[in-house]
């Protein structure tokens, strides 16, 4: 048969791995997809090229399709998320000077989100000028998890610090020059900042919120409606790619693949840490992080409605959008686990029986009711809070309390 033509935009980051592997290791071809990958340098351009149908699908920040559907961005674009592209992968890197101050307030090199956050709070209380942090985009997991981490440690992200947006490749230099004091980014930019720009790893996404969503497959809604078979074929290819990426024996090859100029275009040694989960901390130390980046296990590609709704609660919390039933519905409907289930059904993929879960309820790895053998979690927020997607109003109300 004639293969489906699919054009996908991606940003050169480690978690573009599933798309890259789908193309390079034959998973797309096996699913009869001719996958055309186009590299971009900003999320704004990914969004614009989706809007004018130059791209059909894209590697995209998990909250961004929700922001598009809520009309927070121009040009107008309706998107759906039928699949996630893995869990975790981000970290918070701080400048050497800030780390020294945090060390004086008792921080240990263990990436613990409570210990590092408490030390940061104590540093901030004794400073006269504001610390400045960078994130990659306002509607990003980075922005929301950094804000969550700061708030839960008694730091007001709007009043006590300044948060700005920078392109991740510039963050290391900004850290070294003192333009910023820290940043929350994906890989390879924390490893780069630590190995080449004197940064120190303060905490990781996997410590702030275990098994948490990061990049997803964003799909132009009109294209998905018109090309359901092509989309289903692409999801099958990406599923195969996620399994391949998860095998430790493939990590070295994956790092070499991503290092190519057409993809991430950075040295292999910056890409391996996220894959092995052994991260350089600065000062020559490194540390093994459980579930730092999860491409396949724990239903890592499943588009949980509860993930979409949690991002929505954070958009409300930081006044990106006003809370209403309609807005909440739009956010929840952006994620399409139904399409995921339909596309992967015939592959006999272990599938969760629910499409939403209480985030933070699993304190350990737990077998769950599903159509196959599947374990989820641990998925806890570091402050012990739970997010029940059936109790969005209460969660939003509780967040507003100082």
């Amino acid at each position: 048969m004639t293969p489906y033509e699919v054009t996908a935009g991606f940003v050169p980051l480690l978690d573009s791995a599933l798309l890259v592997v789908a193309k390079e290791k034959g998973f797309a071809e096996a699913a009869a997809v001719n996958l055309n990958l186009v590299r971009e340098r900003s999320w704004a351009t990914i969004r614009d090229r989706l809007a004018v149908s130059q791209f059909d699908v894209a590697h995209i920040l998990a909250p961004l399709p929700i922001a598009c559907n809520l009309g927070l961005m121009a040009p107008r674009l309706q998107m759906i998320v039928p699949m996630a592209l893995g869990l975790g992968g981000n970290a918070v890197t701080v400048a050497k000077d800030l780390w020294r101050d945090m060390a004086e307030h008792g921080v240990a090199s263990n990436l613990d989100a409570r210990e590092s956050g408490t030390a940061l709070r104590d540093v901030i209380r004794r400073r006269s000028n504001k610390l400045r942090f960078a994130v990659v985009h306002p509607y990003s997991g980075h922005n929301y998890e950094l804000r969550y981490w700061l708030s839960a440690n008694g730091i007001d992200p709007d009043r006590d610090v300044e948060i700005m947006v920078l392109p991740p490749p510039d963050m290391g230099d900004a850290l070294l020059s003192g333009t910023i004091d820290g940043y929350c980014a994906g890989e390879p930019w924390n490893t780069f900042g630590v190995l080449d720009r004197g940064g120190r790893l303060a905490t990781v996404k996997a410590a702030i919120w275990k098994s948490s969503p990061e990049k997803v497959l964003g799909v132009h809604a009109g294209w998905a409606d018109a090309n359901p078979d092509a989309l289903a074929a692409l999801l099958k290819a990406l599923h195969g790619a996620s399994l391949w990426c998860s095998r430790p024996e493939n990590h070295s090859e994956l790092a070499w693949l991503l290092a190519k100029p057409a993809y991430v275009g950075r040295p292999v040694e910056y890409l391996l840490p996220a894959l092995s989960g052994v991260l350089p901390m600065g000062n020559g130390e490194s540390r093994s992080v459980q579930d730092f980046f999860v491409p396949h296990a724990k239903a890592a590609t499943f588009p949980w409605k509860s993930h979409a709704l949690w991002f929505y609660t954070q958009m409300v919390r930081w006044r990106h959008i006003a809370h209403s039933d309609r807005h909440q519905r739009i956010a929840g409907d952006t994620y399409r686990p139904d399409l995921y289930r339909n596309a992967l059904r015939e592959l006999n993929v272990a599938m969760p029986s629910a499409s939403s879960k209480v985030e933070g309820a699993l304190l350990a790895e737990t077998p769950v009711g599903s159509s196959g053998a599947l374990t989820l979690g641990p998925d806890g927020f570091f402050d012990g809070n739970l997010f029940d997607p059936d109790e969005v109003d209460a969660y939003i109300a509780a967040q507003e309390k100082p």
Partner: protein, 205 residues
């Protein structure tokens, strides 16, 4: 000069483009159209601070620029302080967004400005971006043609020297070989030059 002042435009336009030639082409176009208040930034260092200093009404930026996300975050911040800025491209204006993305340019405007007032700026930027890409393509082709002429000349001289033939005869030998092998004449010339340099380094000098 009198009629020039009638089209003079007070809008403060900022052009952000790492490609300084393209930026100059846009600037020239804007000035010709009567926009006298134009600033160009090529260097992305301290971009955020510069934009705040310049406080532009309209920003034109190439879509390859990684700082677009940072730029757009400004609008979000400014909405919080009730000085809203929106994207220039109207949400309903699909044709113009398509033309802009095709050309590789995007533009932003301080909200409150009438779209009609700034529409000509985007139109002009789109046409200049397109003209620049066309120019680049033509330049590449011209460069390619120049290179192939050079290599044919070298091959001709090699033949003239080693076979003692005239320039016309040398050229017709190359052409014949190209026709016989169904290849381009510059490919035959290149093989000859390469072979000669292998047999006798410096022979083609």
């Amino acid at each position: 000069m009198a009629n020039r002042t009638t089209v003079s435009n007070k809008l403060n336009v900022l052009v952000i483009d790492e490609n300084s030639i393209r930026a100059s082409i846009i600037e020239l176009g804007l000035r010709e159209a009567g926009y006298d208040n134009v600033t160009i930034i090529h260097d992305m260092n301290g971009l955020a601070r510069r934009i705040m200093e310049i406080n532009p009404d309209v920003i034109v930026i190439d879509i390859e620029n990684p700082n677009r996300d940072m730029l757009e975050s400004f609008f979000q911040i400014s909405r919080a302080v009730k000085r809203p800025i929106a994207m220039f491209v109207d949400k309903s204006d699909e044709a113009s967004i398509e033309a802009a993305v095709e050309a590789g340019v995007s533009a932003y405007v301080v909200n409150g400005l009438k779209q009609e007032r700034v529409r000509p700026i985007l139109k002009m930027a789109i046409s200049r971006f397109n003209a620049f890409s066309r120019l680049n393509r033509e330049l590449e082709e011209a460069r390619g043609q120049l290179e192939s002429r050079k290599v044919i000349d070298r091959a001709k001289h090699l033949l003239m020297r080693s076979r003692g033939v005239s320039e016309e005869e040398a050229y017709s030998r190359l052409r014949r070989a190209a026709m016989n092998e169904n290849r381009k004449i510059e490919e035959i010339a290149q093989s000859l030059v390469t072979a000669a340099s292998l047999f006798d380094p410096g022979a083609d000098e």
